[in-house]
């Protein structure tokens, strides 16, 4: 063991990258504030019961556990929605108005280290609580589009309603084991396996065809016509109507061109209850952000409330920005023998919004010019 080793799966942000991160955060936070979202800051660790009470135990393998002095188990937060649900259920119980909250936090998960995935990573996100309507869904999706758009990133937001898949499965007449196998294959994105499994099951052929097609249905609202055969299934019609409505609202927001309907966005069936979405950039092989409606979570904290939100992975946005090539800010070096004049000039430059470094090594003019020529960020 060296004393300069860094923990596997963690990373340092050196100045250029940290600056990019800070810029993205500032800009995004500013937008969240402008849209009426207010920041909450929660402890880095929570009791295990709180996290598992919200997420169930499927996160267990990924948790960083530690022990309090009195023996209780603590968890480094693996996400931010549950701590916020805890806050809402204890501190905002009786609010009638929709609650708009945002966070900017480090998150901890014990995952295998690989590109774009770290054990400690950063998320910016919003939660819109106490608003069941479609306008709430549309607002958070539009906000997600807004923050990606202002980075001038090329992106698309994929939109789905989890109810289409879950209703179909609920009405399929299959036993729990078969349902679980289908869910597992969908999560693994193993469409070949799905085909094999379904061909061996006896069920309504329309259900079968749609279950196989769902993961690859992608396009404008017209793709929903492909679900005609299953519209009568309880829950499906409503899900389609909600999806169509949200798509229409997003057209009013003027972001229709950034949104596609994509029935393959099947994330966290046991958590999400309605509209779900993910944001992608062609610059990056993984999603930049994800979110959706989770109307059952607050119930687990004894405070039944509708809720929707999203989280954006900061490192992933930075990777997309770096892949595209980001512009670093210009900086000035103010140098001279008269320190008073130097300081005044530096102050003036800063007042104009420039970065002004004061030369503290008493370099000659020639040295300064040479230095600027050699500086990476000059």
């Amino acid at each position: 063991m060296n004393n300069y080793e860094i923990v596997r799966g963690t990373k340092d942000f050196l100045p250029d990258e940290a600056a990019l991160k800070r810029d993205f955060e500032n800009r995004t936070v500013q937008t969240f504030l402008e849209w009426g979202y207010r920041e909450v800051i929660t402890p880095t660790f929570e009791y295990l019961e709180v996290i598992e009470g919200g997420a169930g135990n499927n996160l267990r393998q990924e948790l960083f556990l530690l022990q309090d002095r009195d023996g209780r188990l603590l968890v480094l937060r693996p996400e931010m929605t549950i701590p916020i649900a805890r806050i809402v259920s204890t501190k905002f119980r009786d609010t009638d108005e929709p609650l708009r909250l945002f966070y900017n936090a480090n998150i901890f998960r014990h995952t295998m280290p690989q590109m774009g995935r770290y054990k400690e990573f950063y998320q910016l996100g919003v939660e819109l609580i106490g608003a069941p309507g479609k306008r709430a869904d549309a607002e958070v999706i539009a906000l997600a589009a807004e923050i990606l758009g202002q980075q001038e990133l090329e992106f698309k937001i994929s939109l789905n309603h989890i109810g289409i898949f879950t209703s179909l499965l609920a009405e399929s007449g299959l036993n729990e084991q078969a349902k679980d196998s289908i869910k597992a294959l969908v999560l693994k994105k193993d469409l070949v396996g799905m085909g094999e499994l379904l061909s061996g099951l006896t069920m309504n052929p329309d259900f079968k065809r749609v279950l196989l097609e769902l993961p690859v249905i992608h396009g404008g609202p017209e793709v929903l016509n492909r679900l005609e055969a299953i519209r009568k299934v309880p829950g499906v019609d409503q899900a389609i109507a909600e999806l169509t409505k949200v798509y229409e609202l997003l057209a009013i927001y003027g972001i229709q061109q950034d949104v596609v309907i994509d029935l393959g966005i099947l994330r966290g069936f046991d958590y999400y209850t309605g509209i779900v979405f993910e944001g992608y950039s062609p610059q990056l092989g993984y999603p930049l952000l994800g979110g959706g409606r989770y109307d059952k979570l607050l119930d687990k904290f004894g405070c039944p409330q509708a809720a929707t939100g999203f989280a954006v992975g900061i490192e992933r946005v930075l990777l997309a920005l770096q892949n595209r090539g980001a512009v670093l800010p210009q900086r000035w070096i103010v140098s001279g023998s008269d320190l008073r004049a130097v300081l005044k000039k530096a102050r003036d430059l800063r007042a104009e919004g420039h970065i002004a470094e004061v030369d503290i090594q008493e370099n000659s003019e020639k040295d300064v010019i040479a230095k600027l020529a050699g500086a990476k960020t000059g």
Binding site: M115, K188, G193, H218, D262, Y280, P282, G285
Partner: protein
């Protein structure tokens, strides 16, 4: 990633021949593409496609990270790596099986007798998961080749390996004890590419499925 340009990860070795044949049926360029050359990237700017020639075990990695939009690789490798990619088409060729084999004289014993013994394999995840599902614990020994030698030299009692004919097993006095999975070549797709290049990838995938169904794609 250029939104117009498609990058395909191709597996070196025995899957390459049938893969190129299939690409040819899709009217994709294959002139001069082979794994015998030093060149690892083949660019066809006019057809807006390029190929990366990879070791088969690297194909899922290229695709997961989006260095390639899609790839062709054996199910055996997909199973052992569990990468976050879409598995979209079973191409049917490259047939082989994942099996558990033991020395011939022990093949009559119940699998439970092999609890806590050593398993030599190139595929540690597949091996571990199979035995865990049977409620057994084994010590997995990862090797990079010549797995079938391990029992003869006393390195392991069991092997988990892929076989196509079973001849190698016989030559090494081993016998199949259990079948884990049947594997063929698959088409895998990056989850973002599938969305951002939908208009190119979707028709290609449909056509591949059709070619497979019509029996045009073969060894």
């Amino acid at each position: 990633m250029n939104p117009e340009q498609l990058t395909i990860a191709l597996p070196k070795g025995k899957l390459l021949g049938p893969t190129l044949q299939m690409l040819d049926h899709l009217d994709l360029p294959i002139r001069g593409v082979s794994d015998g050359k030093r060149s690892l990237v083949f660019d066809f700017p006019d057809q807006k496609v390029s190929y990366i020639m990879c070791r088969p075990t690297d194909v899922p990695t290229y695709v997961e990270h989006g260095a390639a939009d899609l790839g062709i690789v054996g199910k055996d490798i997909i199973l052992d790596q569990a990468k976050d990619v879409y598995e979209m088409v079973d191409l049917g060729f490259g047939y082989c099986r994942f099996i558990v084999a033991v020395p011939q004289e022990r093949v009559g014993q119940p699998l439970a007798d092999f609890n806590y013994q050593r398993v030599a394999t190139k595929f540690p995840h597949v091996a571990e998961e199979f035995f865990r599902e049977q409620g057994l614990q084994v010590e997995v020994i990862k090797l990079h080749g010549n797995i079938e030698l391990a029992p003869r030299v006393g390195l392991a009692e069991i092997i988990v390996d892929i076989v196509s004919t079973g001849k190698t097993l016989e030559e090494n006095f081993l016998k199949e004890k259990a079948n884990i999975a049947v594997c063929t070549a698959r088409v895998i797709v990056n989850r973002v590419s599938y969305r951002t290049k939908y208009s190119i990838i979707e028709p290609m995938i449909s056509k591949m499925s059709r070619l497979v169904a019509e029996g045009v794609v073969k060894e």
